[in-house]
């Protein structure tokens, strides 16, 4: 099972601090009933990636009591479990024992992707029709005449009907929608061209004519549908991958009733005034006020502060913060829809960014293209009418112009490049929400980073481990293993045996630290003032250090610990690469100026603004936008969400809050920040290829349209010209895949030279 370790290459580097095992009630809420007391639960298991993983998961889950069956879907990295009974079998724990982290998944698996199914069926029908009609057309071109030709034309007309109604319906509906709202899109010329071509061919067939364009109209649909399906598959895959990540917002909470009863209610049903129990390790579901208990709260997702905040009864807590050390009873002061989270969504919608006004390249081109094409065809008709007075000939030629200019290559030119680009980014662990994100990213000139959780991991790292007595460090690690506090986790990583005494009783004092007793003494790990209650009488100076966290033995300080916020891997390199690419880098944070200054200095960021409120971050981005910049926002917290929405384009790490991930255009799954320059690089290359492809399509038209206008286009020429131009743009788009070979060799040499990034950057 070595290949299935969570640290395997494809693993999502989700931090364990942010993922708490889902509650069994929570699982129950997310399951759906199949009737007859049978339930299905969908879990996302991001680290499954080989046959052994499938085997291990399916057998282990199948062995559990009351589990009917489990089926892993490797493509979506999900496992569907069917089970019976009232209580939920412990499958999350079972997966955990195998080393797989499971995340709850929305119960929408029964809603299959209808659009995709329709598109694929349309491609199949159009492909079948195009193939058969093309065969018949080839017979006509190679000399079938008279009654045989008429028969072939009639059969073609019949085969084309299902293709036009079923496959063409997608384009007709979209074109009609655009026209009704007074807009133009690529589908308008397609719909007009295809239906006119069919009508004319039918007329020709009835009148025993030579030329019928059934093959052109159907193969056009076929090519365009391929482009559209690829585009859809790309977006859908990114969306499922993003949705499958751990969910950070609480799904429900335990409500304490007046009579002492405890109910587990979904977040949406919690009302102000209810008393809620928030255990250590859970997220606060709604805004509230603490009634009982004291604890430390991790606010990093909410405010960007990296140090946990100590709270006691009477204080306000915000939805989305993580309760770390002690159980809390809170009184809800707002319903979920009025909570901090909802406020962020509102701010985000208000800060409508570049994407709302952005029009995709394909739409911009088609806004110009469609009128020009229709005008050309109309002028051709008038011209031939004036010259020859033969209306049949004039109409035939005008329709030939429409067919030859049908934006076949243009419809493929953009999606094919974006699909290849998205595929490349997908392989590098970056999800792209839609094609326009790639276009927008290529245009940016300023990159704005959030600090906590983005440039840094939002997790403290012990920096003075080497100067601490190993026995004391091992002692502290043993104690720290009992706590969820981020500082404790950092210390617990240094666990090991160094002759430390065995712990007898361990208790955690929220907001203060951990107390443990051994055979002969009392140890405390926590705040200096609390742990070192005899410190004034000595010891402090001797062991040195001004760190806030110390280990004390019987009240005397024996070790002190210094922490810093661990930086995200490759952060410095990523900032450097962005600068090399001509993008200026800025940092916006809700944290203190001191903490920001340190990180900015180490990473080489020249400009930073600290202690910002969420709305101020968005304002700062609007100021930059007004100054004519195209801003990329990279952030993860709830407090970054308005800024993510305000920016021209945005990127979030997989560890980001749910709404942040949904707001961002790109989501990167691996820990390394080098995903940002990579995405920029691929987007810029894709932008170049898209422009080339559009140029190819325009050159094709420049050559083919005059031929059509002078009435020399036969169905054979139309078929050859259209297929050739489509193949050309597809081939050009695939060159993006080719760039990779050169890059792989470069990247591997870069990793060899960059094996000690921490040594270089600190």
């Amino acid at each position: 099972m070595s290949c299935c370790a969570p640290s395997a290459e494809l693993a999502l580097d989700l931090t364990s601090t942010t993922s708490v095992l889902p509650f069994s009630q929570e699982i129950r809420l997310a399951s759906r009933s199949l009737g007859d007391n049978l339930w299905q639960t969908d879990l996302s298991v991001p680290t499954v990636h080989c046959a052994a993983c499938i085997q291990a998961i399916e057998t282990a889950l199948g062995r559990l009591d009351r589990v009917e069956g489990a089926r892993v879907n490797l493509s979506t990295k999900r496992v569907a479990i069917r089970w019976r009974g009232d209580s939920v079998p412990p499958f999350v724990a079972a997966l955990g024992r195998l080393g797989f982290q499971a995340h709850l998944f929305e119960a929408d698996a029964d809603k299959k992707d209808k659009t995709l199914a329709e598109l694929i069926r349309a491609v199949a029908v159009a492909g079948f029709a195009a193939g058969n009609i093309m065969l018949l057309s080839v017979s006509v071109w190679s000399g079938a005449e008279g009654a045989t030709r008429d028969l072939f034309h009639w059969v073609s007309a019949l085969i084309a009907i299902p293709a036009l109604t079923f496959a063409g319906g997608i384009f007709f509906r979209s074109a009609w929608n655009a026209l009704r709202h007074g807009r133009m899109n690529m589908d308008v010329p397609i719909a007009v061209g295809v239906s006119l071509a069919y009508a004319m061919s039918l007329y020709e067939t009835i009148n025993h004519g030579d030329h019928a364009y059934f093959d052109a109209s159907v193969s056009l649909l076929f090519f365009l549908l391929i482009g559209r399906t690829l585009d859809h598959v790309m977006r859908e895959r990114a969306r499922t991958a993003v949705k499958g990540l751990s969910q950070l917002a609480a799904r429900g909470a335990i409500v304490l009733r007046g009579d002492g009863a405890r109910d587990y209610l979904p977040v949406g049903e919690i009302e102000p005034g209810m008393h809620l129990l928030v255990a250590a390790g859970e997220r606060v579901p709604v805004d509230g006020r603490i009634i009982r208990g004291a604890s430390d709260l991790d606010c990093s997702l909410v405010s960007g502060e990296s140090t946990p905040k100590t709270v006691t009864s009477g204080q306000q807590v915000q939805a989305g913060t993580l309760n770390l050390t002690g159980p809390l009873t809170i009184e809800a002061t707002a319903a979920a829809k009025d909570s901090f989270l909802a406020e962020m969504v509102r701010l985000m919608e208000a800060a409508e960014g570049g994407r709302a006004h952005y029009r995709r390249i394909a739409d911009r081109v088609s806004a110009l293209y469609a009128p020009v094409v229709h005008l050309t065809a109309f002028v051709t008709f008038l011209g031939w009418m004036a010259v020859t007075g033969d209306w049949h000939r004039a109409v035939t030629i005008a329709i030939a112009v429409l067919i030859i200019t049908c934006p076949c290559a243009l419809g493929l030119a953009v999606p094919i490049v974006q699909v290849v680009a998205a595929r490349r980014l997908f392989e590098a662990g970056v999800m792209v929400k839609d094609g326009s994100a790639i276009e927008r990213l290529a245009a940016i000139d300023i990159a704005v980073f959030d600090k906590t959780g983005t440039l840094t991991l939002g997790q403290p790292r012990l920096v003075n481990a080497s100067s601490i007595d190993p026995a004391m460090l091992a002692m502290a690690a043993d104690m720290a293993a009992h706590s969820r506090h981020p500082f404790s986790k950092a210390i617990a990583a240094f666990a090991g045996f160094a002759g430390q005494p065995k712990l007898e009783a361990v208790s955690e004092h929220p907001g203060l630290g951990i107390e443990a007793t051994t055979a002969d003494s009392t140890w405390r790990l926590g705040r200096r003032g609390w742990a070192g209650w005899k410190a004034r009488t000595g010891g402090e100076g001797k062991y040195g250090g001004y760190g806030g966290t110390v280990l004390s033995k019987n009240g005397r300080i024996v070790a002190s610990f210094k922490f810093e916020d661990a930086r995200r891997a490759d952060a410095k390199a990523a900032v450097g690469q962005l600068k090399d690419a001509g993008v200026s880098v800025e940092m916006l944070s809700g944290d203190t100026p001191d903490a920001c200054g340190d990180v900015a200095r180490i990473l080489g960021i020249d400009r930073f603004v600290s202690a910002l409120l969420p709305s101020e971050k968005a304002e700062r981005i609007e100021v930059l936008t007004k100054a004519g910049h195209k801003v990329l926002m990279v952030g993860d917290g709830l407090n970054d969400t308005p800024a993510l929405g305000a920016a021209h384009v945005s990127i979030a790490p997989a560890t980001a809050a749910d709404i942040g991930r949904n707001a961002a255009d790109f989501v990167f799954l691996r820990e390394s920040l080098s995903a940002v320059p990579l995405a920029l690089d691929v987007s810029r290359k894709a932008g170049r290829l898209i422009r080339q492809n559009i140029a190819i399509a325009i050159i094709y038209n420049a050559v083919a349209v005059p031929i059509a206008i002078f009435g020399n286009v036969t169905p054979l020429i139309a078929a050859v010209a259209m297929s050739a131009s489509s193949l050309l743009v597809i081939g050009n788009g695939l060159r993006l895949q080719g760039f990779r070979l050169a890059e792989l060799t470069r990247a591997s040499s870069a990793t060899h030279s960059g094996i000690h990034p921490s040594a270089r950057s600190s």
């Binding site: 046959a51 499938i54 199948g62 069956g69 892993v72 199949a124 079948f128 085969i159």
Partner: protein, 49 residues
Amino acid sequence: MTILVYLMPVALFLGALGLTGFLWALKSGQYEDLDGAAERILRDDKPER
């Protein structure tokens, strides 16, 4: 040219057969986990429970 009367229906029928086969495979979920199917073939033969 009477041969066409047989040949064309045969050709269309075979094409339609392929199309129906594809649509059936699509509907019965055979395209839902392409990566999984590729890996499952490597598993040892154990009767499905």
